[in-house]
């Protein structure tokens, strides 16, 4: 049996399009996966859908599909993506519209739904993970609740001979595990093979992060041609072992370091990586460099999958108001520290601070201590610093006052301040809870366009 060739076309919602097109054209792929949902993306999409019933899917969906559909249809590459976000059905229709615009003779799209568990969460006051509270504590603020569907939810779509599979929330690696299960006939309780499939999905789901992106440290770890870094693909064998590689002529590097950095990325216990399909064991994984930019990944295994599915809940959590101002040249740091001192005095004084007194805040100097605090921060004089004040606020009006406080440092603060920026953002926060598999009903609908 030939290896199954699966590529990664996006590691986040805003990722580059050209490397995905390159994979669609030259990758000789069986499947191309676009992973585009971060924790709170669905909550934000749900807010858009509330304004417009046809919205609520990834805003870059059409642009990505316009770019890759012709090559994927021509080369028989199945596109799998969670760009459906809060409205997978509308996303499916939008893809058919793109096919019509492009003049494609025929396109079949599978839409996978069932991840929306908001009604269940509202009816069942379950505990929130990593919190002493329950779902009820989010009463009136809850926007969305979506279970991380597993690979099993995608299997009907994979058996339906479609060009594109669109989902909402699906566990990121399951987007890769599903086509491997379908192709190799791995059973849903074949924990060993699913563990290896999880390894492939985990290595690929962040796209260039396994092929040289997010790795370079000049003089220590050098990576060639990051301006045209290639997105990764895996050649997966029936035993689950895989070669991670990228297309010839692209930038980046695939080696033990790039693969190990991605293997452990956002994993907690490497021997018990909890995912919807399997509890993966990455502790015995071995990477072998076969040739330049080709690494064999093997040795993953797994144990029985968790009994419940994880769900992400999006909720309104007030506002963050922020203001920044820069100081440069001799004494920049001292003037920046004086500006911070002025801001702190005003935030402590109810009469001066427009309702900001006593609110949780950060007041710091970008260029000195904004990233890692005073202990790890710079102990020397930087040429320039940027004062940053961020305050957690209950209302938009309060949050607007934060930037105004910083702006007032122009006329009322230290000498030579410049470049003020202000921002206000509504915080859509994410919490997690567990939902029984029996409460989650995945569904697959097929949409079709023919000329």
């Amino acid at each position: 049996m030939n290896p199954y060739r699966i590529g990664s076309g996006a590691g986040y919602a805003g990722d580059r399009i050209d490397p995905a097109l390159d994979l669609a054209e030259r990758g000789e792929l069986d499947a191309l996966v676009f992973e585009c949902l971060a924790e709170r993306t669905i909550a934000l999409a749900q807010l858009r859908r509330a304004h417009d019933p046809q919205a609520g899917y990834d805003p870059m969906l059409q642009a990505r599909m316009r770019a890759v559909l012709p090559a994927c249809v021509r080369n028989g590459v199945t596109i799998i993506t969670n760009m459906g976000a809060a409205n997978p059905m509308a996303a499916g229709q939008a893809v058919l519209d793109v096919a019509r615009e492009l003049g494609l003779p025929r396109l079949r799209v599978a839409v996978v739904t069932g991840d929306d568990v908001l009604p269940w969460m509202l009816a069942n006051d379950v505990p929130l993970m990593d919190s002493p509270d329950t779902v009820r504590s989010l009463d009136g603020r809850l926007i969305s609740a979506n279970a991380y569907l597993g690979a099993d939810a995608l299997l009907p779509a994979l058996q339906a001979d479609v060009n594109v599979i669109i989902t909402g929330r699906v566990a990121d690696p399951s987007l890769f595990v599903a086509p491997l299960m379908a192709h190799f006939g791995w059973a849903a309780d074949d924990w060993h093979h699913l563990g290896q499939g999880l390894l492939v999905g985990h290595l690929l789901e962040c796209a260039a992060q396994v092929s040289g992106g997010y790795l370079a440290d000049p003089g220590h770890v050098d990576v060639p041609d990051l301006h045209r870094v290639g997105f990764p693909l895996a050649e997966v064998c029936a035993d689950g072992s895989a070669v991670i590689t990228k297309l010839p002529g692209t930038g980046g590097r695939v080696d033990r370091l790039s693969c190990t950095a991605q293997l452990l990325y956002e994993v907690e216990d490497p021997a018990h990586y909890l995912q919807a399909d399997v509890v993966g064991d990455f502790s015995k994984v071995r990477f072998t460099q076969l040739e330049s930019d080709r690494v064999q990944a093997q040795g993953a295994s797994g144990q029985a999958r968790p009994e419940q599915l994880k769900a992400t809940l999006g909720y309104r959590d007030g506002f963050i108001g922020e203001g920044q101002i820069s100081y440069a040249g001799p004494g920049a740091r001292a003037r920046g520290e004086l500006a911070l001192s002025i801001l702190r005095h005003r935030l402590q004084d109810a009469a001066l601070s427009h309702g900001l007194a006593g609110l949780e805040h950060r007041a710091e100097l970008i260029g000195v201590n904004a990233m890692h605090g005073p202990q790890l921060g710079a102990d020397r004089e930087p040429y320039e610093v940027r004062v940053r004040l961020a305050v957690r606020c209950a209302t938009r009006a309060q949050a607007e006052a934060v930037g105004q406080e910083v702006e007032a440092l122009y006329l009322n603060g230290p000498a030579g301040g410049g470049g003020v920026t202000q921002s206000v953002r509504e915080v859509i926060a994410a919490a997690s809870a567990l939902v029984p598999r029996s409460a989650v009903h995945a569904r697959c609908d097929i949409l079709e366009w023919t000329q």
Binding site: E39, R40, M129, D130, Y214, L215, D217, P218, G219, H220, V221, D222, L257, T260, A261, Q262, L263, L264, Y265, E266, V267, E268, D269, P270, A271, S283, K284, V285, R286, F287, G299, D317, I320, E360, H361, R362, E364, I366, N369, A370, M371, H372, G373, P374, Q375, L376, G377, A378, D379, R380, R388, A390, V391, R392, V427, I428, A429, A430, S432
Partner: protein
Amino acid sequence: MNMSAAPGRPKQARAPSGGSAVHEVTSVGATSQYRTLRDIALARSGDKGNRATLSVIALDPKDYPEMERLLSAERVQAHFAGVVQGPVQRYTLPDLAAVHFVMFDALGGGVTRSLALDAHGKTLSAAVLDLPL
């Protein structure tokens, strides 16, 4: 956040940028005042709720034992005092020449609600590379 004054520490001389390959790092390190973890390892951090994950990987697997000795959970927790509020859990992975940490209560309440500029704690990875060998 702990606002105590930063202790003065010598800064590492910056390595020349570009050109040198990974296996030449020892000679780069030798030009510095002293060797740091950055001379033998790379690091990547990520987020999981209010926890930060931090992986440190030996550039050359032969340096793994030295790296593992250096990077106790206590040492890493002390290095990030003031940033990481909770305990630090360590996982050693000799086959991968990597030491992996989960740092609890490290992200200002979690990515989605943090007041921090780097809400994901992405830049924490570089801070650990400053540890002297």
